[in-house]
Subunit: 150 residues, 10 copies
């Protein structure tokens, strides 16, 4: 039996196949029957897929079963930079700090003491046409988890 | 003429008045004619208000003109923790790192090389009813800014 | 109406009353009808109490309603040291790093991809008699939260 | 005589054999006659085994004596991230900081000035069935070590 | 189809060709029809070029289409040192900190609350003859982006 | 003789006087006979003035000789944040890292091995009208300093 | 009942009394019936004393019972500098890093896998006369704690 | 003439030979005519040996003259972790911080203003039998160096 | 008996007296019978003086015996910034890193394995006239300390 | 045409040739017609040489023109450790912090507001015979650069 590739090798194989076949992330996601954000994150090694979507995704990219196996591995979520440097990602880091206490205040006022889950959570990204320049629209939804007292 | 209070003094005065009057952030925002997220962030010292909404907000909280003046000051946006510790805010920090490259890939595929603005930007927070437990819904919208080549 | 004391002022008042009355954390917890770990953490400013246990706790310590109000405030959970220095706490930090990947491997094998919640969570601490020297016993229980795919 | 593999090479060989033979950590631990947590940590390179369990473990995984020798080596316990990023491990890091002073207060009240050992120490992880969602149960026990005065 | 080289491989190939052909950055920029600063930054892997200038640049350096393809890739902008050490770059880091609040005060006084864009932005570097020693002249221009209130 | 105020006290006094008199930085600079950037930096405590401009500046702000004396003190240039957080200043920090190697390459090609001085240095900030949105224009000029070999 | 002073207030009172009475640490330690190293560390707030030595120490320094009470408090062992700067302390930090792996190798070879306790531990400091210059002699002794397997 | 191996290559060769010949550090040290602590540190690359002990050590381990040459090289003393993570070494790091000011106070009281040298320095490690569990004994001796005034 | 002022209070008193009396550091040093560098460092709290020079220095500045006592205290040498920011000091930090390995190589070649002492050490600063611009001349001298082998 | 070696490859080649030929740094410097400090720093990759001394240096070491070319490259001055660990270099780091404010005070008093250049700068290292133990003498000279006001 073949060794399962690492997540980094899997990502490299997927990106090469994606480029060779001229596929967009939306098309790859559709093949897996899941959303573009989740499927992209799985292809970049930050989430795992169940067997069925992993097999379908590998097939759509004309890749072998070892890529499906790698997609099913539970990832170690590591990042090398505590403060992201790429401007696309830094702007979100900045928002989190500028609006962090605001988000906390509004969640607490509406829901009580607790948090928005980062596990039972989904996200969508879309283009929002605007005559003054199109906008990026990001929608997040996470289950409210109240602190348990015991 | 009186000295303008610091942002920290302004926030303390607003939080005390809010509690005394039993007002919610949504009501305070309505008085200012702006959204709850933006108004809360201004009250917490991370954004400035124009004169009209600042005056209306101070009036609604039965606070004097020095609070309106403080709300109009352009803030220094500082935060003491590079990595937030409060669980509400940390979960967003975690999302940014887990999904950062995903967001970058999807923005680039849809829009080309550029970023989503953190300046020409808005956010809304709402409750999303769900039988398995209500969810926090966060909607972000920022202008796409293409890198300029020259 | 009186101002609500800060969490630090509340903790100082509680520790002084506890010493004056010669009460143990277990007795204070019993007065609040909750467990010693949770009640101690609330008294140290890291959790909030609902109105009833907060009132009972303040009464048991012969403290006024402003302490009950402070106990009901939703805390900002901050800590000044990324790596704890006190030996009691450092030893747990060390365990987390020595056994972190082990815990991850065993949770994943038993439950699949997901985490143990730090929100829907409880902890108990007790003395475990042992002829070679008594032991500290700590029991943690947290809801398993599977990663959502969407 | 052959060179002893490094701990990293040993772990890779064990994980491959484990996957090939379809063994769970519990079964591997049983072969070594020790608990799953301790054996997993030794296989991941963070603890050493005595000769007998190391030989039994290598045999159960159909691996050679060089793997047994590597399991017997005393490890250097290093970790690259002062603050863990993987959400499974981070949640424990968060608990340590939220409940650190609470644990310290309760240990001191019960035992006096001293610490819970991270060396004379054991841990168990199990599934706790719960109709609202099964829970992860973690039990720690460490010898209380009083500070010596001299 | 060939694999697109990484940005690091692309930069190495460009620097070797530049040296072999004895070309200056100004000449390479002219071939691409863009400014020296922007073209140099693209060659060093910190910006992307559109297809036409990338093809022209590769041709001027007698490099193949895979270099043009690499120039068109959208870069990940990472830097390894939060505080630069090379004296040329450190001096700019120092200026930013010495004059940061000054720049902020003057922009705010002239334009109101907002920032100078680092995306819709250009820069030029030139020699400024001076009898007491020639000077380096750097001109930056960035679009003013007012904070949006909503 | 009176004690010289600290730089922080001096800045506070200047900002209050500036607000009370409704003066702009350009007007204050004109009173001192120097440029707005340099004078603002001196008022914010990051540079010193000679006696004549310090006296003129204090007089223009209707402040006493102790403010002139404080302006003449040689400052300790400290900053609390290695990575600036305010978006106005961060964008410049980002530019320095994105374009640092580019600036180094172009200075070296034009001037040889050496640096642009941050001491024998000046800066101007102005508004650059633009139909697509006015721009901030920043001009820096620093003496080229060749490395000495000996 | 009086409030117990903080460890910092206690240390200040002890140092003042020590200076006023012209006592050496050795004499203070003798009054407490313990060693100079341990007693000094307790006076500096890094260890606690039992009631008898605390009372004797306070009496010897002509200080009140509140100082004895403060000496009996269990300290939070915090230090502000991860890397000590004072040369006396830094030299020990340097030794730990230069000889750390050596100490580990020699302990492991002599005792097996385990550590030297920092809790069941003592230290003595003395002058070692030497014609080439007197030497500081430091003797440490800590219980060997073998790692427990379970 | 052959190239001198790096310190890391030298250490690997020594550890392999030590294991192959079944030698203890004490025996290797005896062959070199020096103490176990110093010789171990030299073998681990943190000190250099003079020619005679280096030759004797290499001969005792049946290694060639290139290992003797490497032992004679003056090392660069680097360590990757400012705060050690391995528990054996961390415990010493902790002692340094808990007892640092105590050591400083006692050295100053006995010797005056100055430090204990980390250069003109020696260390011994031994087993101290104890019915309650054997102890690790560490003896340090360093020349007192008074600060020079001039 | 009066309390001895802290080093910070002592420095403030000395700087005020120095300004009031119009004295230069050289004159103050002469009064103490020591060099300007050493005396300035003692006045800034980074070294201690013996009784005679401390008394002479206090007398020359018309300050009381408590300042002499403070000058005789052995300082804790702390600095808040691991990387200095003030340009005067940073330039020396930069030199240390640019020339650190060079200094090490030349000391080792001349003296063997060892260091230059930072304790048995002196420094002088002077003006070196130069037609192209006067220069700062700094002379350091420290005892060579050979590593001891044992 | 051959590729120019990296600075690291160049340094390795120079050190090997230096050892093979038994040359001292002083002799190599003499061959280049420059001082030992500057030439050593160039050989270690932290400075560049002009063509003539580079050619002479390569010839003296019997190395090819590619080493001369590498010596002429303008280096990127990077260092991996913000705080040096090797004791030789750390002692200088310590001096910079202990005497940094002293140096600043004395330069400002003698020269006015400005810095000592780290670019127009030279250094010499020599042996200073002393009956109590020879000393390392280091002489630094850097041009005073006054801050420009504009």
């Amino acid at each position: 039996m073949t060794t399962i590739p690492s997540k980094a090798e899997m990502t490299a194989a997927i990106l090469q196949a994606k480029q060779r076949l001229g596929l967009k992330w939306a098309a790859i996601a559709q093949a897996a029957g899941l959303s573009p954000v989740f499927v992209t994150s799985a292809c970049l090694g930050m989430n795992s897929l169940a067997k069925a979507p992993a097999d379908q995704l590998a097939a759509a990219l004309e890749l072998g079963p070892e890529i499906s196996a790698a997609l099913q591995e539970f990832p170690h979520k590591h990042w090398p930079e505590a403060i992201p440097t790429d401007p696309v990602v830094y702007r979100f880091y900045e928002m989190i700090h500028v609006y962090g206490d605001t988000i906390k205040a509004l969640i607490h006022e509406e829901f009580g003491d607790g948090i928005m889950s980062a596990i039972d959570f989904d996200m969508a990204i879309s283009r929002q046409p605007d005559p003054k320049g199109d906008r990026v629209r990001i929608e997040l939804s996470g289950k409210f988890l109240p602190y348990r007292s015991w």
